[in-house]
Amino acid sequence: MRTAANLGATLAAGAVAVYLPFTLDPGNLALYTLMGLSAIVAIGLSLLMGFAGQISLGQGAFYALGAYVVGILATPPDLFPKGRGLDPLLALGAAPLACALVGAVVGVPLLRLRGHYLAFATLALHLIMLALVFTWESWTGGQIGLIGIPPLEVAGHEITGERHAAVVWTIAVVTLLIALSLVASRAGRALRAIASSEASAAAAGINVASYKLRLFVLSAGLAGLAGGLYAYLLQYLSPDAFPLIVSITFVVMVAVGGMGSLYGAVLGAIAITWLQDRLQHLGTRQELLGFDLPVQAPQVFSIGVFGAILIVVMLFFPRGLLPGLQELGRRARRPAPASSS
């Protein structure tokens, strides 16, 4: 009964999310699309952090890889020499596959070890990805960038503007539904067993390493899919679009939304994308509260604020901000907690 109500509410909210772009002010459309893209990445990362107990500081690398796969495959050769001019939908399909493959290669040796190995390796992956984009100029356009990416096209219809936003949110909602059913399935029970105790899960015959690897590959694929959609939003790619802070921002979204909480991942993605946009505006102002702002202010604000969020959330709400606040709310409603549980 409760799951049916939940499913109904999710579908209703999803329908609103998909319809919303057609009523939005055009000035807010790009921000709204970014929220949907971030939600797709955050759902994958939340599964990884919540159930595998592993943290990836390199989701931005997969995001960038997905975008460049689309850029190279979809751009016509007359606009970009190495472009393949493939069908945009086909190019979009290749993005998550390429990322899943890279994820599998990196993940096999690392996921058997403690969390910090994957954290540092994925971080290195992001830096390497940037170095490759800079050096393989003929394939990526280097610092100048990859120009001429066509809009997404489905059955002869160009998907731009509010239609693109609607497509992105449709994919985000579908991703959420698939992730929810995954968690509720037999595999989901195995994942929850791993999350509560890896040793007992292994003792019950669950192949812990294999589940962790599959989660990492899934999260890499989702980041690649979002990156591919991002390429169709920008229609122009350069390394400046994928600084290291992108990877860290995804971690902040999951930390706020709650590790392993899928609705939380979506809410965290929306909140942090909005916050980032606000900080950007604040930082480009001439002065704030009577202080002259330096040129670097936008960067200082977002790096500093996201760092502070990570510290506070991890200290006081280790499972995430939203689950922590829910817990507080529950305790406030029941002032006398039972001593036995």
């Binding site: 960067q299 790096i303 510290i311």
Partner: protein
């Protein structure tokens, strides 16, 4: 051949600096179980503070003051990173140190701006040994690193503080039973480790200029060096740093400077793949 030796010489010195930062990571991990992401920040802060002090006072004094300031900052970060007893997991501590690193970077950006900083090396006069140029600064980095590795190993074995650090690594509960305060011990480890990394950073700054965001690459390299010994051995971290430094310089010299970090990752992956057959997954 001459070019090869030249690259190896440079690699040994940069590798020593990685090792110094990596040894700091090992020290913190052994005493508190925390993998400190902010380790690169200590090196960057050491370099930046040195640059701002060096014009007003003797070089040695400027270095000493920079190291001490960073050690105090390190102790404060340690206090936060240990977190709340019984609630903060090692993974949460890692994310907290990531947050600390971000906050530190943003403050550095505010204070020092977005451009590389450097100061003059101890001597502009380089030795020329049969065509191979050896800068005195390189020799200084290597000498300090080896001395620190030896001293630290001795201190951990022979002094009371050293025993306390090792005891906390063995079992935090047992250490508390005999009256050690785990948080205090972790703060000492963070302070010493921060001082070492600051020393590595400020010694390398004359040859490799430092920027507010250099900390990430330093942290990745230092982690790869420390991972050589599974984050547990000072000696192996030193070896790891040297292997890493030399191979990166060879890549820079013969292939492409952009790929030097890729080497760190590949070495880390191969090594970890090899180790993971021995280490039980946890």
């Amino acid at each position: 051949m001459r070019e090869f030796i030249q690259l190896v010489v440079i690699g040994i010195s940069t590798g020593s600096a990685f090792a110094l930062v990596g040894i700091g990571m090992v020290l913190i991990h052994r005493t508190s179980g925390i993998v400190n992401f902010a380790q690169g920040v200590f090196a960057v802060l050491g370099g930046l503070l040195m640059v701002s002090f060096v014009d007003d006072m003797p070089t040695g004094l400027a270095g000493l003051i920079s190291v001490l300031i960073v050690a105090v900052i390190g102790a404060a970060m340690g206090f936060i990173a240990v977190g709340i007893r019984g609630r903060t997991t090692p993974l949460a501590s890692l994310i907290i140190t990531l947050g600390l690193a971000l906050v530190a970077s943003s403050l550095e950006l505010l204070k020092f701006g977005d451009r590389p900083h450097t100061y003059e090396a101890i001597s502009e006069h380089a030795w020329n040994i049969q065509g191979v140029v050896v800068q005195p600064q390189y020799a200084l980095v290597v000498g300090v690193t080896v001395a620190v590795a030896l001293l630290l190993t001795l201190a951990l074995r022979r002094t009371i503080v050293g025993h306390a650090l090792v005891a906390c690594a063995d079992s935090a509960r047992a250490a508390e039973l005999v009256g050690l305060n785990v948080r205090t011990v972790a703060m000492i480890a963070f302070a010493v480790s921060a001082g070492l990394s600051a020393l590595g950073g400020l010694l390398l700054t004359p040859v490799v200029p430092v920027n507010y965001d250099s900390d990430v690459a330093i942290a990745v390299n230092a982690f790869a060096a420390a991972a050589f010994g599974g984050l547990g051995s000072i000696g192996l971290a030193l070896v790891g740093g040297l292997v890493l430094g030399i191979s990166e310089q060879l890549v820079v010299g013969y292939i492409d400077p952009q790929y030097n970090l890729a080497i760190a990752l590949v070495i880390m992956l191969v090594l970890i793949g090899w180790r993971s057959r021995h280490e039980v997954a946890t």
